[in-house]
Amino acid sequence: MAEVNLSAALAALADNERQIQIEAKDIRELFRKLEERYPGLEPVLKNDVAVAIDGVIYRDNWSKELPDDAEIFLMRRLTGG
């Protein structure tokens, strides 16, 4: 069971929930379950969200596995220079 933390902007699309418990084996499943539970998140999850798993940020690798009891943070996708 992963504890998923949402930034304030994302929480606004998820019934203002900042912390959500979700059983998911990887980022893809996590996103699918989040979309099912909070349809408002669906547009941003497609390409505007990065996932920090135990402090390491993943932007694109939706196959990244979520370790048991991992700390998950969803934040806006990063850009750089």
Partner: protein, 754 residues
């Protein structure tokens, strides 16, 4: 992605050496082809007409005079670039920035463009385009723009991130907040509190090469573009989306790049060149002038930042908060959010809160500039940290070490850190001889830390073995700082062949799968991972071919020192087969030998740096001279140490210019007053000392060689390090960047009067 990117310790033969870069001779002899060096038969000259007004409604545009001029082959306006963005606001903003639609939002905003047989005709044609403007009140300053009395740029922008949702439009496009704990409680526990307001002015990335492209559209819907860019696949996607083209029918070739630093990460005039070519039926070349580069491309945000930090007498920070207002130009972006995220990322804080605002102003669309938004936030926070250390009576490095984030710290932007490198950079600074060197009269020393996220991304690479055993490496990330040399070293390492036997090229968009652009310090991190993967795939084929040649199982063949070797004694004393031996007979053992890789390089890991700076301030003139500068940063593994050092030095040099001289200066009319390198002064060699570097190598667990990105973090600490040094030298806290001579004199006079 099946590639295992986990770090494995190993000894290196090629990686870590410093051979000459393959593109070096061409660049110093003038043979290298930059964006403006490409030409096509029959090409036309494209020129862009730009708004002279900071804010104006476009009432009408009459292009008939230009169209009647002999030699003019096409004229385009927004009508020729219809909105195909399908509700994608980010893409629409790029379109509107390429060619203004109902309003011109800044001095230099494109309103029309022509293609003519020569430059003289094109210039004359621009004069014959009649634009009727209804001039509107404008706002340039970020603090003025947030006032209720400010002219509102956009009637479709309502402040996001606040409840309840506003009913009236605003120049504050969005609010974002990060942090944890209770800052009020934390400040109540503090023995000493420092609270300051800071400002930084807008700067340009200052790339030496202006934007340039040649676009050629054919009647059958195919098109080609040669362009100076940090990401030709991204430019292809942008242009295809904006012009309604099939992505695969537009082939984009990137030129050599004379600097980008974030300013060449999305399109500016490239879709206009394609639209002109579509209308004229001939290739069109557009090269921006320096004036256009300054007025209409890529500056970073101007900022206004309030910081408050409290600490106990023992040096423990009890609370920290910041409010950060970042100008975005006329389009919403996430620059204030990045400032808020990065502001306190260096520290382990019990109570922290940072709030970022995206502010719309009548300036050009802001673009990323190397670790976007982090340098300004670091300037404000690290200045306050320094002042707080002085008030408590602690050494500035000891104070930072005491409060530095470490493994297990909850970062100010949310996640808990894994293993991170700020501690080692601070300890290296503490032990560096620079910190103990004596200082003279009017001299001061400053230091500061910096943080940036780094990331990887989509990457695709081909490695082909030639018939003589040499290798060609085709990558899709543009080489902005020596990547071809670094990636050749990686291929040589994996194949076991000399560096000189590898040639790396940046392939066009028709030759490789999609690659994200070279940004986020990802070029060498991502493409080296893909190169290792491609080379290992090629080695698998080489082993198979050796096994065929020897007629033994492939499991009995290993790859070592550039040769296939049979391992089992039952195969007798087979002499090794070199890569050249295997390549020579490839046509008879199965055909060409190649390795391919497509992957998502994620897990780049966050990055930290610590800088030390000595300055001398002339109290008569207010001029500052940088006496000594040291950069300490973790590279994970320096593939080509020269180019790692180059990134460290380049970031410091740009930061020195930003800290001391560079700024956009606007007149009362909202027009940019200094759009050229004479009046917008970037540092030249005589302004800079030799910038010393210290590369730390703490392996990144998510890369086979432990590589980290190094391109951006080096620009984060300089503003703060120099401000701390100048403040220590002048005896007065500097709170406004750039610290130009007039500002330093004013601060000195204010101090003596106060």
């Amino acid at each position: 992605m099946s590639f295992d990117a986990k770090y494995k310790a190993q000894d290196y033969n090629s990686v870590g050496t410093r051979p000459v870069r393959p593109d070096g001779v061409d660049k110093v002899t003038g043979r290298a082809r930059y964006g403006a060096d490409f030409n096509m038969p029959g090409q036309l000259v494209g020129r862009v007409l730009r708004s002279p007004h900071a804010h104006a409604r476009i009432v009408s545009i009459d292009t008939s005079g230009a169209e009647r001029l002999k030699g003019v082959k096409a004229v385009v306006t927004a009508a020729d670039l219809p909105d195909l963005t399908n509700g994608d606001q980010t893409l629409f903003d790029i379109l509107d920035n390429c060619m203004a639609r109902s309003k011109a939002f800044y001095d230099g905003h494109a309103v029309a463009a022509v293609a003519a047989v020569d430059a003289k005709t094109a210039r004359e044609a621009l004069k014959r385009i009649e634009v009727e403007y209804e001039v509107l009140p404008h706002v340039i300053d970020v603090d003025e723009a947030v006032k209720p009395s400010a002219p509102v740029l956009r009637d479709d922008v309502f402040t996001g991130g606040v409840e309840p949702k506003p009913q009236t439009p605003s120049n504050i496009a969005n609010r974002s907040e990060f942090g944890h704990g209770d800052v009020d409680e934390g400040f109540a526990e503090a023995d000493v509190i420092v609270e300051r307001s800071f400002r930084t002015e807008q700067t340009h990335q200052g790339y030496i090469e202006p934007h340039a492209c040649v676009a050629s559209m054919n009647p059958d819907g195919t098109a080609d573009m040669w362009v100076c860019t940090q990401g030709h696949f991204v430019y292809r996607q942008n242009c295809a989306d904006l012009l309604g083209l099939d992505v695969s029918k537009l082939r984009v070739t990137s030129s050599e790049i004379g600097g980008g630093f974030g300013g060449k990460t999305h399109v500016w005039m490239e879709p206009v060149a394609l639209a002109l070519s579509r209308k004229a039926g001939r290739p069109v070349k557009i090269v921006m002038s320096r004036n256009e580069v300054f007025r209409a491309s890529g500056p970073t945000s101007a900022t206004s930042i309030d910081v408050k930090i409290g600490a106990k007498k023992d040096g423990t920070i009890t609370a920290a908060q910041a409010t950060l207002r970042y100008s975005c130009g006329p389009y919403e972006d996430i620059w204030g959010e990045f400032g808020a995220k990065t502001s306190f990322a260096c520290y382990g804080l019990k109570n922290v809160k940072s709030v970022g605002y995206e502010v719309l102003v009548n300036r050009p669309k802001a673009a990323a500039y190397r670790a976007p938004s982090a340098p300004m936030a670091a300037f404000a926070v690290e200045s306050t940290i320094d002042e707080l250390a002085q008030k408590i009576g602690l050494d500035s490095i000891e104070f930072r070490i005491k409060n530095a984030a470490k493994e297990g710290t909850r970062s100010s932007y949310g996640p808990v850190y894994g293993p991170i490198g700020i501690g080692p950079t601070l300890e290296a600074a503490q032990n560096h001889p620079h910190m103990k060197a004596p200082l003279g009269k009017n001299q001061g020393r400053g230091m500061a830390c910096g943080f940036w996220f780094n990331f990887g991304g989509q990457t695709c690479t081909d490695l082909n073995i030639g018939s003589d055993g040499t290798a060609t490496l085709a990558v899709g990330t543009v080489d902005v700082g020596g990547a071809r040399a670094s990636l050749s070293l990686v291929a040589a390492e994996e194949l076991g062949i000399p560096y000189e036997n590898v040639r790396a090229v940046v392939a066009d968009t028709a030759s490789l799968g999609y690659n994200d652009m070279t940004d986020g310090s990802r070029g060498t991190f991502s493409s080296s991972m893909a190169t290792i993967s491609a080379a290992r795939n090629a080695v698998k084929v080489l082993r198979e071919r050796a096994a065929l040649t020897w007629d033994i199982p492939v499991e009995d063949v290993i790859w070592e020192d550039g040769c296939a070797k049979a391992t089992d004694k039952k195969h007798g004393n087979l002499p090794p087969l070199t890569i050249a031996d295997i390549a020579e007979t490839a046509g008879k053992t199965g055909g060409p030998i190649a390795g391919h890789s497509e992957l998502v390089a994620d897990g780049a890991g966050v990055s930290f740096a610590t800088h030390i700076c000595d300055v001398e301030v002339d109290p008569e003139t207010g001029a500052t001279k940088i006496l000594r500068y040291t950069v300490i940063q973790d590279a994970g593994k320096a593939v080509h140490p020269d180019y790692v050092e180059g990134q460290y030095q380049g970031g410091a040099a740009q930061g020195i210019g930003w800290a001391l001289n560079e700024e956009y200066i606007y007149g009362e009319d909202g027009r940019l007053q200094n759009p050229g390198f004479l009046d917008y002064r970037i540092p030249v060699c005589s302004d800079l000392p030799m910038i010393d570097t210290q590369i730390l190598e703490i392996p990144n667990p998510n890369h086979p060689y432990g590589v980290r990105g190094v391109g951006e973090t080096s620009i984060v600490p300089p503003l703060a390090a120099i401000a701390n040094a100048v403040s220590n030298a002048a005896g007065v806290r500097m709170t406004h960047i750039p610290m130009s001579p007039p500002r330093i004199l004013a601060a000195l006079e204010g101090e003596s009067e106060g």
